[in-house]
Every structure is written in C-alpha cells, then in structure tokens.
C-alpha cells in the first residue's frame, strides 16, 4: 500500500508502531512523485538518494522522526541550490542552513526536495518561475495559486506529506485554498526568517502547508520560536500549538467583516464561505458582524511597502559574488544591467521598478511613508475588531483557481487576487486557510480564519473543529 496519502499524525503512529519504515515511506512518495509530478510539476529539485540515506538513519523517537518534508525553493539548505525560481541564482549553492531547516533536522524530518514558486515569491499563480509553471492538481489547466504553489500542489497531489512555504501577502494561504489543503501564516516574528530569502522583510513569514489542521500545528511547533539570528523574531518561546485542538468552540465569538462580502467575490466562493460560517455557528460559536474600514486600501498599501522593501532586498543579486553573471560585458555598468535584465523575470522587474520609484527622491513621503501610515490604520482596524471577537472568518481568495495565463499580463488584476489575505500580513497577524467546499466544476474553495497576534492556538482550534466536522479534507484530486 502507499503511505503517500497519509497525514503526519497517521504516519507518526505507524512509524512508532513499526508498521512502516521511513525508507518505505520515502519510496512511496517517490512512486507518487514519478507518477503525478510530470503533470503537476510541483518540484524543482529532488534528492531521492539523500532522502533514502537519511531515512536509513532516521530517529523515529524525535517529534518529526522519519517524516519527509518538502521545502519551498527560497529557504536556504546547506549544500543545496536555492534558486528562488530565478535564473539569477543559477549555480548558487547555499553554504548554510536556515533556522527552520536546522529545526526540521533536529526534529528528525527528512528533506525530500524543493518546490516550485513564483520567482522570489512575487506572484499569485506560480506562473512566474524560471523553471516552468506548476499545475493545479484538481484541474491541470489552472494555476495552483502562489507564490508557494509548488508546496501546495505537492501536498494536494500527495507528493509530499507536508511542506514549508512562505507568506508575504497570502502566498501560503491562497495556494492552499486553490489546491484544497491547509496553509498557515504564523504571526509576524513567530518563525525565524533567518535563511528565508527576503521578498518583503516586514511581511514575510515561513509557515506550513499540510493536509490537516493538526498537521499544521505539529509542523509549526517544530519550526517556531525565538532565534537570536533574527532581530524581528519574537523572543517569547513558542507555545504548544496543538494544545487547544479538539476543544469545543462553543461560546467563542467569531467576527465576520462586512467589507469582505461585497462586489467582486465569486458567487460560489461566497456561498461556500457563508455556509462554512453557519456551520461554525452550528458548532456553538457566536457570530458578530465587524468592520475593517480600511480594507479597500490594503492592496495599495501592500504593493508599495512590499515592493519598496523588495527593491532593496533584491539589489544583492548582481552577479558579483554568487549566481549568474552576464557574459561578454564591456564594463561594470553593463554587467549589472545585463545580469539583472537577463536574470530576473518580468514580474520581479516590474516590482523592483515600482519599489525603486516609491522610494526615489521626492516620492518617499507620497508613496512609501503614506503606505506605511495606511498600514497602521489597517492594523488599528484589526486591534479594534479583536476587542469584540476571538477570530475573524473570511474567504481566503475572492475566486477559485484561475486558468493558467489568464492574468499573466494584467498585474493589477493579479494583485487584486490577494485582497483578502494581504491585510493579515500588513497587520502582522496569524491566519489559516482550510478547505470549505468545491465549485460545481470541482475546484477547491478556501476558508480563512484570522487570529490576533500570537493566537495561533485559537485559529488552529477553530480550524480543527470545522475540519473534523466536515469531510472536505478527505477528498483527493483524481489527476487523470
């Protein structure tokens, strides 16, 4: 039998009961990968030998002992390429482990391979990858979402038991919604960013993509917590995120923001979300309409803050110390210009240009500073709302997965796809996306549960309660 379809929790039980050996597990996954990945294209590097080698020596007694995890290709793993799906990092071998990788290793996890993504995490469809697009396992003609599309697709297609992604404006939650899996963006500072190639430093967080809410809690437990190498990492020790799983949500107040159910939202998405909300009410939660008045400004604020930070973060990719350098250039300026011209894809260039402009002489106040101030307003909206509820429930994305190529050259339309996830990053909150239904044509729909800062236990509790009383998470794509 194949073990590829199992969750971490199930596998842990089987591993401890010696019903499966880690090597068998890796072999099962490799089988599944070789049968479906040619269609899905979730992975960009695989390390079968290394994974099998590690499986032989796996220490089952550790919290993730023997469990294979896929990692988005922008997290540094010592001795491995880390291309961020960009040509500009061609040939680069990372000489160090990210903090999350060190923690996965010491928790006993096995690193199986690297997943595809939008170049430097810039995109919502995983179409902007130098190594080709990833396809949605539920409909191969559609995008898996992005930027962690490879990680979401790998989990959904059972090519990975679980995966790490990163979320700057929805990059874990939106692909989780599009692919029908669970994706969690932790509170800003909860997980160390050391070793995560920066897109927008004040927004980026690493988080888990899993098959179940309980798995997300488990994976988060092993990667979260204080890290002296990241100045912005929360010095508080991470709590047990699984602690409240299984607790009832009766008596809890859930906020429903009125601004999230207005024009532009797909009717099937709206219907599924509303149904999920009444399901939660059925589980005993009290619903309360809340207002997040600055919602309409979040995309604009986000695109200025994120691109400004990115314009500086990506300046280091210049072909001088590592990565690809353009050949046959006459001088330094030409080398810079052509290396970056040839090395970066269009979306990355577009965003660097926007961010450079937003910071440039004379525009700082009008664009970057104003965007940061609006960001504070958005944050204040949430602080006010959380005085009346413990969590906020919304759709994850206004639409289900769209067709490949559909929005490729319409950046603004693409940016608007992140309208429900972006505000969470701007405010530094935590949020989870989990499956809450399917469209008529069989595309997954995601439900987003947003919590206050450092309240991952609460959103995991609500998500788990919903998941355990529905069966969306048990459905598998046919991949025919």
């Amino acid at each position: 039998m194949s073990f590829a379809f199992s969750t971490i929790r199930e596998l842990r039980k089987q591993l401890l009961a010696k019903e499966v050996h880690p090597t068998e597990l890796i072999e099962s996954l490799l089988d599944q990968i070789s049968s479906v990945d040619p269609k899905v294209k979730a992975y960009i590097h695989l390390h079968p030998e290394r994974a099998l080698e590690a499986a032989k020596k796996a220490d089952i007694s550790l919290p993730l002992g023997g469990v294979p995890i896929a990692v988005k290709d922008l997290i540094s793993v010592r001795g491995e390429p880390c291309t961020c799906a960009s040509r500009i990092l061609e040939g680069y071998i990372a000489p160090y482990d990210a903090t999350v990788i060190e923690r996965l290793r010491s928790a006993g996890a096995i690193l199986l391979g690297r997943t595809n993504m939008d170049e430097f995490a810039m995109g919502s469809s995983t179409e902007n990858s130098a190594w080709g697009m990833t396809h949605n396992p539920w409909d191969l003609s559609r995008v898996p979402g992005g930027s962690s599309g490879g990680s979401a697709a790998a989990v959904a297609a059972h090519e990975a038991i679980a995966a790490l992604g990163s979320d700057t404006g929805g990059s874990i939650r939106q692909p989780a919604a599009f692919c029908g899996c669970v994706g969690l963006k932790p509170t800003y500072g909860r997980v160390s960013r050391y070793g995560l190639t920066a897109f927008a430093s004040s927004l980026d967080q690493i988080g888990p993509l899993t098959k179940t809410v309980a798995d997300a809690a488990l994976l988060l437990e092993s990667i979260a917590g204080a890290d002296p190498r990241d100045n912005t990492c929360d010095p508080e020790p991470a709590p047990s995120f699984s602690a409240k799983l299984g607790e009832e949500i009766r008596g809890m107040t859930l906020g429903i923001p009125k601004e999230y159910f207005v024009s532009g939202i797909d009717p099937e998405v709206e219907a599924a979300t509303k149904q999920a909300i009444s399901h939660l009410e059925g589980l005993g939660a009290t619903l309360r309409e809340i207002s997040l008045p600055h919602t309409a400004y979040s995309v604009a604020s986000y695109y200025l803050v994120a691109t400004a930070e990115a314009s500086a973060n990506l300046a280091r990719f210049d072909g001088m110390r590592y990565g690809r350098r353009a050949k046959d250039c006459d001088d330094l300026l030409e080398t810079y210009g052509r290396t970056r011209e040839e090395g970066f894809g269009r979306e990355v260039k577009r965003r660097i240009l926007l961010g450079t402009y937003a910071l440039s002489c004379g525009y700082y106040d009008a664009y970057y500073l104003r965007a940061q101030k609006v960001r504070m307003r958005i944050r204040q909206d949430f602080l006010a709302a959380f005085r009346h509820c413990q969590a906020i429930v919304t759709p994850t994305s206004p639409t289900p997965a769209f067709r490949l190529g559909e929005r490729a050259e319409d950046p603004l339309q693409m940016y608007l796809a992140d309208i429900f996830t972006i505000a969470v990053n701007l405010a530094g909150l935590c949020a989870i996306s989990l499956p809450c239904g399917f469209t008529q044509s069989g595309l997954p729909i995601g439900l987003q549960i947003i919590g206050p800062m450092r309240q991952e236990e609460t959103i995991l509790q609500v998500g788990h309660a919903y998941e355990q009383s529905t069966d969306w998470h048990t459905l598998r794509p046919s991949l025919s």
Binding site: P95, Y322, R324, R325, R350, L354, Y357, K373, R377, L412
Partner: protein, 115 residues
C-alpha cells in the same frame, strides 16, 4: 549638477479617483537606471504603462486621513535585542569563494571599478 528628468508628471485628470482614473507618468528609464536594469525601449514602454496603472490605483491611499498616524507600533516593547560582542563561527574561505563567478588569489574578481 544637471537636473534629472522629473520622474513624475502632474496628474492630467482633474477628477478624483472613482470618476476618472488619472494617468500618472513614470520615468521608467530613470528608475531602471537606479535599479541597474538595462531595459529595451519596448520594455520601457510596456512597464511604463503597467506601472502607471498601478500608480493610478495606489493614489487611492490619498483618501485615507493619516495626519495623526505615528509609525511607532503600539505593541513595541521598548526592549533592545542586541548581540553580545562575541565571535561566532565563520564560513571557510573555500565556502566563501565557492559561489564566486570569477575569483583569483582569494579575491572576488569583478569588472574593473572606475574611481
């Protein structure tokens, strides 16, 4: 010092956003030079019009009253997180130079720097 081309022309639309989308002109060539991109004339054209759309959209932010907003977060703890002045492990020289596109005598080689 020669004055740079002014990267942003004033709005041409006299109406507020919502009725009429103002066009915002961006000097893509100047910004590309700052970002060290060598763009073709066609790319300058395409990026220009795409970025103008985005900039017209972000003009929305002007609707928000931000005069009272302070950028110091209310949850800031006023605690420093500094590092003690103690050495930590370093990379070996071969690890450092392994990724260099060009190297010699332990140095990274780059195109000649003009002073």
């Amino acid at each position: 010092m020669a004055k740079r081309a002014f990267p942003l022309l004033p709005e041409t639309g006299a109406f507020r956003y919502g009725y009429f989308v103002p066009t915002v002109a961006i000097d893509v060539a100047y910004v590309a030079e700052l970002a060290r991109f060598r763009l073709s004339p066609e790319e300058i054209e395409t990026f220009g019009s795409q970025l103008e759309q985005v900039l017209a959209y972000v003009k929305k932010l002007e609707e928000v009253e931000v005069r009272e907003v302070a950028l110091i977060g209310e949850e800031e703890s006023f605690q420093n997180r500094l590092r003690p002045d103690r050495p930590l492990p370093e990379l070996t020289r071969s690890e450092v130079l392994e990724n260099a596109p060009q190297k010699a005598d332990g140095l990274f080689l780059v195109p000649r720097i003009l002073e």
